[in-house]
């Protein structure tokens, strides 16, 4: 039987130094000036540090996109997989190595368009994986096509006269599909984002975190959203305290989505179920 006990779960008290967690030879990273994905990366590393997870016990699985490139800068076990499929790869990895803390970093296109089915089934199974979806409302990497989260009226290379499709509320989708933990935060609230990710990492079961990120170079420019500082300032009025309150926060920007923890529930975890099931079957057939 596989050992599912995580090796390191102590709470870390030493100060956080991101340079200890980055592949320094690959830095500076490839992302454009002001790209929100870099802020999300820092929050993820700080959360991993807070949870006291050792590098060897962390596996980060990424899809394709600017968001998918995030994992490559982390000095831990990392996988760059195929477009839309990081959750499928992560499912295999977590079942084979339940002792690892498995984190998926994906984008709105990666996770909701081509990978939409993988998301709903990962949530339904409730395997112990933390999924970070960096939502910049666009396909950043391929030059700015519309994604399932592109807001109405936004200009992209595939919506030249403004988007008209309704969007996905990814958190509502994950919750409806059965995820045990669901939350959302904006990069502007990086300390709160870190706390949210740490909570998701500690949750046993499928934890979905949507990070509202800014694509400054493409989405921001095409839509006249200002430079990086203006874009991040428009996310929320002010820095909030680090801790999440119980009730979700209402958005600052009109028509934006609320932030906070929406779902936190104990559900049977898939890996445990599968191992118990397999053991039961073995017990029946081998005397």
């Amino acid at each position: 039987m596989l050992d599912a006990t995580p090796k390191t779960t102590c709470d870390q008290k030493a100060p956080f130094d991101p340079r200890e967690w980055l592949r320094l030879a690959a830095m500076p990273h490839f992302m454009c000036p002001g790209c929100g994905h870099g802020i999300a990366l820092r929050a993820l590393l700080a959360a991993v540090h807070d949870c006291g997870i050792a590098k060897d016990d962390l596996a980060v699985v990424c899809g394709i996109g600017c968001s998918g490139r995030v994992g490559g800068y982390i000095d831990a076990n990392t996988m760059h997989t195929t477009h839309g499929r990081p959750l499928a790869f992560a499912t295999g990895l977590k079942l084979a190595r339940p002792d690892l803390t498995v984190v998926v970093v994906t984008g709105d296109g990666d996770c909701l368009a081509i990978g939409g089915n993988h998301l709903i089934h990962a949530a339904r199974r409730n395997l112990d994986i933390t999924c970070l979806m960096l939502n910049n409302e666009v396909y950043g990497m391929t030059g700015g096509q519309a994604s399932p989260t592109t807001a109405a009226t936004r200009v992209t290379s595939t919506t030249q006269s403004g988007a008209i499709e309704p969007t996905f509320d990814a958190c509502a989708l994950a919750a409806a599909a059965g995820a045990g933990f669901v939350g959302r935060e904006v990069t502007r609230q990086a300390p709160a984002l870190k706390t949210l990710i740490a909570r998701a990492l500690r949750h046993k079961g499928f934890a979905f975190v949507e990070v509202m990120s800014d694509c400054t170079e493409i989405y921001g420019r095409k839509n006249d959203l200002g430079e990086a500082p203006e874009m991040i300032l428009s996310q929320k009025a002010d820095m909030r305290p680090e801790q999440h309150r119980d009730a979700p926060d209402q958005p600052f920007r009109p028509n934006a989505l609320p932030t906070g923890v929406f779902v936190e529930r104990d559900l049977p975890e898939y890996g445990e179920r599968l191992r118990a099931h397999a053991a039961a079957i073995r017990g029946e057939i081998t005397p």
Partner: protein
């Protein structure tokens, strides 16, 4: 805190027949109105005419909340004039001080939680560890000198019982020691006004407050009072920007609350390091890990 003279704490119960003016003060969210409701209900049950008036406009923002409770054979004015309160119940230390002049000179009873809730406008400097403009007076300065009464760590007592929010009921319990109404009746009144699920803790908090005795002189908590007056340590904050990683997005420059940083061509630089408070906004929000904020500790 200086040891408080023991005699001051033997409350002489007031006859149930006498009317009283009781002022309950605090800040939003502490439960000022719960105390005044319990008092009003109790007085009503004893056949008094009761008037209660309150101000809680800024309550949601941690602003002041106060409530006047008056009961007697006949009550005309709904408010208590300066110098006419028989009792002042304060849930927050600075509020206690602010309302002291409403107590009857020489014979008003003063009961306060020593808990401090420092309002944002008391923070004159945003530097880490900078002293605040919060009231300097310690419980020892007030209790013995101005009035009959006591200052207790009601929040600490309630926290030890399981919920810091029951601090108001701890103070109500303390107050009850000055009134000769039966304990069972207080329990009934409290059970009638608190949410069902909190009856147990509120009852325990009431009993703890009623049974409270001042700490013996040597175990009096000196530290909390001292912390209020001593200025914070002068911390050295070091902010640096790694030019090799900075992509010049301008986020740190525009979002630093103290305007410490500036653009120098395509890169950000630290312009006025002395103004840095160590808030780390720049460090958290730099997408390129180029900013490092170090707390270099207290200079020797």
């Amino acid at each position: 805190m200086r040891p408080l003279p023991q005699e001051d704490f033997a409350p002489a119960p007031r006859p149930a027949s006498a009317g009283l003016n009781i002022l309950v003060v605090g800040v939003g969210g502490q439960g000022v109105l719960m105390i005044s409701k319990a008092l009003a209900l109790m007085a009503q049950r004893r056949g008094f005419a009761v008037k209660q008036s309150e101000v809680h406009g800024m309550a949601k923002r941690g602003g002041i909340v106060f409530s006047h409770v008056r009961f007697a054979e006949q009550v005309w004015s709904p408010t208590i004039a300066r110098g006419e309160a028989d009792m002042l119940i304060a849930l927050e230390w600075a509020e206690a001080l602010r309302w002291l002049d409403h107590l009857r000179p020489g014979r008003g009873v003063f009961i306060a939680d020593t808990r401090k809730i420092v309002p944002p406008f008391a923070c004159r400097s945003r530097k880490l560890g900078a002293p605040s403009a919060y009231a300097r007076e310690t419980p020892a300065d007030v209790v013995g000198r101005h009035a009959d009464g006591c200052a207790l760590d009601a929040t600490g007592i309630a926290t030890a019982l399981g919920d810091s929010r029951a601090a108001n009921t701890v103070l109500l319990g303390r107050l009850s020691a000055w009134l000769d109404y039966p304990v069972a009746e207080w329990h009934e009144v409290i059970a009638a006004i608190v949410p069902k699920g909190t009856r147990e803790i509120n009852r325990a908090a009431f009993d703890a407050g009623r049974a409270w005795t001042p700490p013996a002189p040597d175990e009096a908590p000196a530290a909390s009072a001292a912390a209020a007056v001593a200025p914070g340590p002068d911390l050295r904050i070091g902010v640096s920007i790694d030019a090799a990683w900075c992509k010049g997005c301008g986020i740190c420059v525009k979002l630093c609350p103290e305007r410490c940083l500036a653009m120098d061509g395509p890169k950000a630089i630290v312009r006025t390091p002395a103004a840095c408070t160590g808030c780390r906004v720049c460090e958290w929000l730099c997408p390129d890990f180029a900013v490092t904020v170090r707390n270099e500790g207290v200079p020797a």
